[in-house]
Amino acid sequence: MGRIVLEQITKSFGSTQVIPPLDLTIEDGEFTVFVGPSGCGKSTLLRLIAGLEDVSSGRITIDGQDATELAPAKRGLAMVFQSYALYPHMTVRKNIAFPLRMAKMGPAEIEKRVNNAASVLNLTDYLDRRPGQLSGGQRQRVAIGRAIVREPSAFLFDEPLSNLDAALRVGMRLEISELHKRLTTTMIYVTHDQVEAMTMADKIVVLRAGHIEQVGSPLELYKNPRNKFVAGFIGSPKMNFLEGDEAKRHNAHSIGVRPEHIEVSDSKGDWTGVVGVSEHLGSDTFFHIHDTGLAETITVRAGGEVGFRHGDRVHLTPRSDVIHKFDAQGLRI
């Protein structure tokens, strides 16, 4: 069980309100990702749920029980920190056993659970080492091990992969997703990386300045962003935004077209421009087109074999069925 309900919660530091009144429900077993630019309040929100910060007002309910005033340990949640926050003076075994020891569990049961967690996370050979003797990925696994032995009602992850190198990050992303599939425990995951959000989440919560901009499944947010902010934040490369006459033609203040929804050709098209930088990824190529008269740059995603050069004049055609229209306030029309 792990249904978490936030009702009208706020958080202020001194006179600055970082979380204005906010409502959110996280269903049992859901993998929820809080995503947003740095300083949007996503980590603060997670810390409020964890109990590491007190809410200024509002109510937090976990599994129907009011947890607003409960101490962190009494909430039945486990947290994995960005810096792993392992206890450097303890072996891996003692690190993983620590929450069980604090719960006054018997040594036999502790032993059993630690060994179990270690085998799940491939840490059996490292149980007698100290965190300082482990690699980044192994440390992160120890942090996860320390979280799973308690069998919490929900896991909280605070940017757990941002200290790892790119290759390892992809691997750990998969491991955490698999862990979620196996345990089916509620997970709340904070990240500023929209790729992590898209690939892992059942439900994404997009935050800006403490406000929830939109809640939905990854594809929902991709297909139907509620406003320009969400449209620009979800999807990579970023959506192109055009204003002026081109937008007026669609009866909108501005329009958004994703790079993958623009066709590029050397013969004909709706818009014309000059190729600037090309980024070749092998599978895809991203062209940055200048001098279209519409926006400073338009980014286009084409197949890996498309080979325009710097300075080539090209023609662009947006797919008319996937043009996003926004009003003057940036809201979707």
């Binding site: 920190f81 810096s83 206890y87 003076h89 929450p99």
Partner: protein, 276 residues
């Protein structure tokens, strides 16, 4: 060419360092040497360095005349006790200042330090009166409390500096893992801060051991530590230089040995957090 300059530089630095080191150490060396001379040789003019008749007579006399072990024991109890007491009070204080600071934390730290700028003699009278009415005069417990209080600002400051170096996330992890405040301090913070706590304890023992103002003024016979033992040989009458030196050597020997064996720890502790 660059190399020859740097070699000369190194030699110069070494020379300067040794000169300063010897200058600082000289009074101690002189005291130790004098303790092995006869009283006549001790005041000889010009002073005699090494070529005198080495004698242990002063040590024998000092031993005979006063009970060294009793003074030593008092010093150990007072220095150790005041340090232990100070650590017990300073760990929670430094914890709260480092991890749950308020708007006034910096001011409180500065205020605590400012008490060290007060001349001790300024509060001698009130403290003396307090000691009389509380019956603490010439007791070990009284001295322990006074020495703990005068060194407490330094202990809190040192521990505060060490604790600031410990990432808050680790303590938060312990809180999430179900550790109570007591368990968090006992199982996580203290083991992580052991090097810092150890050098704080060492420095405090040295300060308490050498403290002379309060130990001389507040003791008579019962609780007198080694500082009083030395003082009892500085007499206006008679020739006592050699015996005074013997007493001093006996008084500083334990702390000198402790300092020698823990110098690495001490230096690390004192420079900790200085470069950041």
């Amino acid at each position: 060419m660059a190399r020859s300059v740097s070699t000369r530089r190194k030699a110069l630095n070494t020379l300067i360092a040794w000169t300063i080191g010897l200058l600082i150490f000289f009074p101690i060396l002189w005291t130790i040497l004098t303790s092995f001379k006869t009283e006549a040789q001790a005041i000889n003019d010009p002073p005699i360095f090494f070529f005198f008749d080495w004698t242990l007579e002063n040590y024998a006399v000092v031993q005979e005349r006063s009970d060294y072990m009793r003074f030593l024991w008092n010093s150990v109890i007072i220095a150790g006790g005041s340090t232990l007491l100070g650590i017990l009070i300073a760990v929670p204080a430094a914890w709260s200042m480092a991890f749950v600071p308020s708007k006034r934390t910096k001011d409180i730290l500065m205020w605590m330090l400012s008490t060290k700028m007060l001349p001790a003699v300024g509060v001698l009278y009130p403290i003396y009166l307090l000691f009389i009415s509380l019956g603490l005069l010439d007791t070990r417990i009284g001295l322990m409390v006074v020495l703990m209080l005068i060194n407490l600002p330094i202990i809190v400051w040192m521990l505060y500096t060490y604790f600031k170096e410990i990432p808050t996330e680790i303590l938060e992890a312990a809180r999430m893992d179900g550790a109570t405040l007591k368990e968090e301090i006992l199982y996580i913070l203290t083991p992580m801060a052991i090097p810092g706590i150890a050098s704080t304890i060492l420095l405090n023992i040295i300060l308490a051991w050498n403290e002379a103002f309060w130990t001389l003024n507040l003791t008579a016979a019962q609780a007198a530590p080694l500082t009083a033992f030395i003082a009892s040989y500085s007499s206006p009458e008679g020739l006592f230089y050699a015996k005074l030196s013997a007493a001093s050597t006996m008084a500083i020997a334990p702390i000198l040995i402790l300092g020698w064996f823990s110098q690495k720890q001490l230096v690390r502790g004192l420079t900790f957090g200085a470069v950041k």
